[in-house]
Symmetry: C2
Subunit: 156 residues, 2 copies
């Protein structure tokens, strides 16, 4: 009976050492993968999307074996997955658990909303200062225009 | 002791009903996801990449809950994952198991190698006839040039 229950629970197995990113909005799992370049690493990775979550209805989860992320690296995902929790696993135990936090600066992976901005015409990586972390407003380093949540697009 | 062994094995859990795509080359898991549009479905999905495989060294696996694929849909992935095995799961049991097969025709997701081809200048989906399934050679319906494995690029 217990075995049956285990089998019916669609879950992503435990890892011994590494990083778990939990509570990702289901629609944004692939953006998170892209932002963290997980499609290009050699580490073992498990992903789940559209998993049931009591808190969120549906959620995504990513488990990366034997990899730890620097804060500024992981915080980039706060832009697409503000609900995400970062869990550091060591020897199957939770060594650290924290919420991701919107960073002060954002580089490269978001497009400037202003069609006339130099970053949309020359091969210059975008660069923004986050001026509102709650409503997500980014001020462009080059043209000073504000790119906000509702007009934010991600570079491929 | 048995529990410990289970925990140390990084594996993707069982599904009750649905499709498992196993033995995907690790580097091509995200291409398979893209080809099958799995980044846009509401089904629960589990993926693993860089998993250990006796046969392949490293492999990827994708499990999609409550979804079955038509042959021509699934065979598209043979172009990037010729080693893939398709397993249909019903009530936790293997109901069907087969290798993917390179299809006779390929539409849309591969770019024509010929820079002068109309599909590279106008908004026309590409269309190829597979003239060699072993070495993967595709003949373009429009310009008749051959796109082969070593110059095949996938549409984003």
């Amino acid at each position: 009976m217990e075995k049956d229950n285990l089998r019916k629970e669609l879950k992503v197995s435990a890892i011994e050492n590494g990083t778990v990113i939990d509570h990702i909005p289901s629609n944004n799992v692939f953006q998170v993968i892209k932002i963290l370049n997980l499609d290009e690493v050699d580490n073992q990775i498990l992903f789940g999307t559209n998993l049931e979550s009591q808190k969120m209805g549906k959620k995504g989860i990513i488990k990366v074996r034997n990899k730890y992320f620097a804060s500024d690296e992981i915080n980039k995902i706060a832009l697409v997955a503000p609900t995400a929790t970062l869990i550091v696993i060591k020897n199957f135990e939770v060594a650290e658990k924290k919420k991701v936090a919107v960073p002060d600066k954002v580089e490269k992976f978001i497009k400037c909303f202003n069609p006339n901005c130099i970053t949309n015409h020359e091969n210059i990586p975008t660069r923004f200062y986050v001026i509102d972390k709650t409503d997500l407003k980014l001020s462009c380093h080059y043209c000073e225009k504000i790119t906000a949540k509702n007009n934010m697009t991600f570079m491929p």
